[in-house]
């Protein structure tokens, strides 16, 4: 029984959004008990296709069949009734509720008008045992590790008798070990007849876990292949539509004098919780220090404290010997910082400003952009034309609003503005390639390495372990607000870094 029954089929699905054909006559099918990976870059149309199947959007054309029957899906309720469950990238859980309460939410079991916690808990325990999920129905969701919260989401779909589970970028928030656990669970689920659609942009995971792989690009299905018949390079080519270099070309490292020095830095977040405890490290000119860690372990607050967006509670930050602890962003920028912020749309750009204005966002007050308090449009224009060609920003003109550019080109506007400043000594790049297409990632990586080769100190913060390993000379691992290890990137492995990221106390090999 090699070709099993088709449980879900989308035929000729087309969805037009203003200005974008998000799905162009897409055919997709899922067989019983298989893991079917949907691979593509951001904006390729994966999420649109899943939202159409799950009932969050309606297709302009095309039909969806479940177990061979045509179904009209108008809302998530219809898809749940048809046995489809979805685990979103951002969990839909209420932290102050227990697992059982979260699971029954929207589908509450009652006994004489009050909630029947016991019956729900029993059913969760049963599901949990059956699929090897190991979830305690009475635990509060808030304190649970992310990996377990994700299992709660999976339990939610199974509790509603889902036979088809859609996992949207499930590994983005997991350590490598947690991801391995998830893959084991996925195999257990399929062994028991559940069918899984696995959405991702990570090639390695797809090859490791999928039974079939469908690659989408620009709203179309490019091909459907089996992992045994393909490799990373071929998949990447299908995703991007051209030859892709997967490794970063990096010369040997020649670190010079110390540029950034951080001593005993402690930072609180806006809820007044201490999210960075007593962190110390240095970055020298001509080296990239990568900070690895699962999202939410203090990286955001650390970079905010270094760049002046947040005042630390205690500790000291110096750039080339100059004390800049708690100084405002402008002072730090003038001392030689280039900052590629974590959230490009919130911090990095004013979306309704033109590309030209955004390219002078931090220097607008200086000559030549301002003379005696008056903005010089000609200088802004010249500067942007120069940067647009030097950094290959794809924009119809410098007068287009930054919000109209693609994510990759928005990020290039920021990179161009920050790295082109003439006094840069330190680059703080926080998630510099998050959500970007492969071409832009390649480009931004090469620009970061260029800065390093010019003798600039680079602090790279990223949740993508591959990015950290490809670019860094040294790697620091952050876990619960502390740096638990700093190692030479040549003398460590993914597995070891993964253990540190998960909080294990392991001595460097």
């Amino acid at each position: 029984m090699s070709e099993s029954q088709i449980v879900l089929e989308a035929k000729g699905v087309t969805k037009q959004f203003p200005g974008v054909l998000a799905n162009d006559n897409v055919d997709f099918d899922l067989r019983k008990g298989e893991i079917h990976a949907l691979l593509g870059e951001n904006g390729a149309g994966k999420s649109t296709l899943m939202n159409l199947i799950y009932g969050l959007h309606h297709p302009d054309k095309g039909e969806v069949f479940v177990n061979g029957n045509h179904v009209a899906i108008h809302s998530p309720n219809d898809s749940i009734a048809a046995g489809i469950g979805m685990v979103h990238q951002h969990f839909m859980l209420i932290p102050v509720f227990t697992v059982a309460e979260n699971v029954m939410l929207g589908d509450e079991t009652t006994k004489r008008g009050s909630l029947d916690h016991l019956a729900v808990a029993a059913k969760i325990t049963e599901i949990s045992k059956q699929y090897g999920l190991d979830v305690d129905p009475n635990a509060l969701v808030g304190p649970l590790p992310v990996g377990i919260q994700q299992r709660v989401e999976i339990v939610k779909t199974l509790y509603r008798n889902a036979e088809i589970v859609i996992l949207d970028e499930p590994t983005a928030v997991l350590t490598p070990q947690e991801a391995e656990d998830l893959f084991r669970i996925m195999r257990d689920l399929t062994a028991r007849g559940v069918s899984i659609i696995f959405i991702t942009h990570k090639l390695k995971e797809v090859l490791a876990v999928a039974d079939r792989i469908t690659v989408m690009r620009a709203g179309r299905v490019i091909n459907t292949v089996k992992p045994s018949e393909t490799d990373s390079a071929q998949l990447a080519n299908m995703m991007v539509g051209r030859q892709v270099i997967l490794t970063v070309d990096k010369k040997d490292h020649e670190a010079a004098e110390e540029i950034l020095k951080v001593e005993g830095l402690t930072v609180r977040d806006q809820r007044n919780l201490e999210t960075v405890h007593n962190v110390s490290f240095t970055v020298r000119g001509g080296e990239v220090l990568g900070i690895a860690g699962v999202q939410g372990n203090g990286q955001t607050e650390l970079s905010e404290a270094l760049t002046g967006l947040r005042s630390p509670i205690s500790g000291k930050v110096t750039i080339s010997g100059k004390d800049l602890t708690g100084k405002p962003p402008r002072i730090i920028t003038e001392a030689g910082l280039a900052h590629i912020p974590e959230d490009r749309q919130r911090h990095g750009l004013v979306l309704s400003y033109t590309v030209a204005d955004n390219m002078a966002l931090c220097d607008y007050y200086q000559i030549p952009f301002s003379v005696r308090g008056v903005i010089q449009p000609k200088a802004l224009d010249e500067n942007s034309r120069k940067l647009i060609s030097a950094y290959d920003v794809r924009t119809p003109s410098p007068f287009v609003n930054a919000g109209k550019l693609s994510g990759g080109n928005q990020q290039k506007v920021i990179v161009a503005r920050e790295l082109s400043r003439n006094n840069v000594k330190l680059v703080v790049a926080n998630q510099p390639t998050r959500g970007l297409d492969v071409g832009s990632i390649e480009y931004i990586h090469s620009e970061i390495i260029k800065m390093r080769d010019r003798g600039v100190a680079v602090l790279l913060i990223s949740a993508e372990l591959d990015e950290i390993m490809a670019l860094s000379d040294r790697i620091a691992v952050m876990y619960r607000g502390q740096i638990v290890a700093i190692v030479d990137s040549k003398k460590t492995t993914r597995e070891q870094l993964g253990l540190w990221m998960a909080g294990a106390h392991v001595e460097p090999a």
């Binding site: 990095g348 004013v350 966002l361 607008y364």
Partner: protein, 375 residues
């Protein structure tokens, strides 16, 4: 050659952006006039006669034109005040109070300063001083709200409303008390007349339109220049559009918020000062009722653009000034004008209605007027 081509396309771009920005307000006005006409028919009037009366009463003679300019003067100043705050991401509902503060202080300097000093001041000193003091006090009054917003997070909508109560009731207290016109026949809450040296001259003999009108047009140009051509304007707009990015870019967000409120309050204060020094020569309780609130409507209708503010102010002035002629000709109540104004605003604010009626597709981002509660 290429440069020439680019400049042509740039002019075209600018023209297109103007027509795009003005399209919705224009259609809103047209729609409101049509709906207003239907209502006039329903109540038994003749809409064509009514609108003709409105136009005749406001534009039909030199005197009518002069009065329309007089009406538009405080509207332009106060409208600019609200629009400038909008550009900085702040919703200044307090123009009414700032205007009253400006008027009270200008009146005080106007009638009392020569008494205090014991000698008459030359007009070249006295009049600018009266205006300047009123303007600054309006700025300080609004600056308090800006400071509260920057340093305590207190929302400017609530605080400007509260400051309005304080300003208007204090004004009433003063005009009924120490500042009351002491002439024996007076029973009204008003100040004495300001000295001749503090009065702004009329532009033409026999017409009431005064130099304040020219100042208002000048102010509109200056605000446009400030917002679009200066470093300070860039900072105000950046804070208004994206305060997080502004902080990232090294802009002092707190200082900019306070400065925006001060500038906004100065413009509102000017609206009051100019009415006192150019038109009424005193401050009288109730003269300004509604200017500060109409200013919000004007800023919305003018899409917070200084040119839009001037045009919207003219429109409001035409409606206010032509109303009595309309009433005389058609016996329709003046309240109809308030209704018409409300309809225009309704269609501007709920632009989806206008877009639906005229089948206009929404383009680009929506105008962000304020960042909302606690933003």
């Amino acid at each position: 050659m290429q440069v020439e081509k680019q400049s042509v396309s740039l002019t075209k771009q600018i023209l297109r952006s103007i027509s795009e920005a003005g399209l919705i307000p224009l259609l809103a006005i047209v729609t409101a006039v049509v709906v207003g006409g239907i209502i006039i028919i329903i109540v038994g009037g003749n809409p064509i006669q009514a609108y003709a009366g409105l136009v005749e009463g406001s534009l039909g003679s030199t005197k009518a034109l002069s009065e329309t300019a007089v009406w538009s003067t405080p509207y332009i100043f106060a409208g600019l005040a609200v629009a400038l705050a909008f550009k900085g991401g702040l919703f200044n509902i307090g123009a009414e109070g700032q205007l009253a503060v400006g008027a009270v202080f200008s009146a005080l300097i106007g009638y009392a300063l020569p008494e205090w000093l014991g000698f008459a001041l030359p007009a070249i000193v006295h009049m600018p001083l009266a205006i300047l003091v009123g303007m600054l006090m309006g700025g300080i009054w609004a600056g308090i709200v800006g400071w509260l917003k920057a340093y305590t997070g207190g929302h400017e909508v609530i605080n400007t409303i509260m400051m309005n109560y304080i300003a208007l009731n204090t004004t009433s207290f003063l005009l009924n008390g120490v500042m009351k016109d002491p002439s024996p026949t007076n029973v009204i809450a008003r100040t004495p007349l300001i000295a001749k040296s503090a009065r702004m001259p009329a532009i033409f003999d026999g017409l009431r339109v005064h130099w304040g009108f020219i100042l208002a047009l000048l102010a509109a140009f200056l605000i446009w220049w400030l917002l679009n051509k200066t470093t300070l304007g860039f900072e105000i707009r950046t804070v208004g559009l994206n305060p997080d990015a502004a902080q990232y870019a090294g802009i002092n967000v707190k200082r900019t918020i306070i400065l925006t409120m001060v500038l906004s309050g100065m413009l509102a204060g000017l609206a009051g000062s100019i009415e006192v020094t150019g038109l009424n020569y005193r401050h009288e309780l109730g003269f300004s009722i509604g200017y500060g609130y109409d200013a919000i409507a004007i800023a919305l209708l003018g899409k917070s653009h200084p040119l839009g503010i001037v045009l919207a102010s003219f429109l409001f002035a035409i409606m206010r000034n032509g109303a009595s002629r309309m009433q005389f000709l058609t016996q329709l109540p003046v309240d109809l004008i308030s209704m018409l104004q409300a309809l225009i605003l309704l269609f501007v604010a709920a632009d989806a209605i206008v877009r639906y009626i005229y089948r206009i597709k929404s383009k680009g981002e929506r105008v962000v007027l304020t960042r909302g509660w606690g933003g």
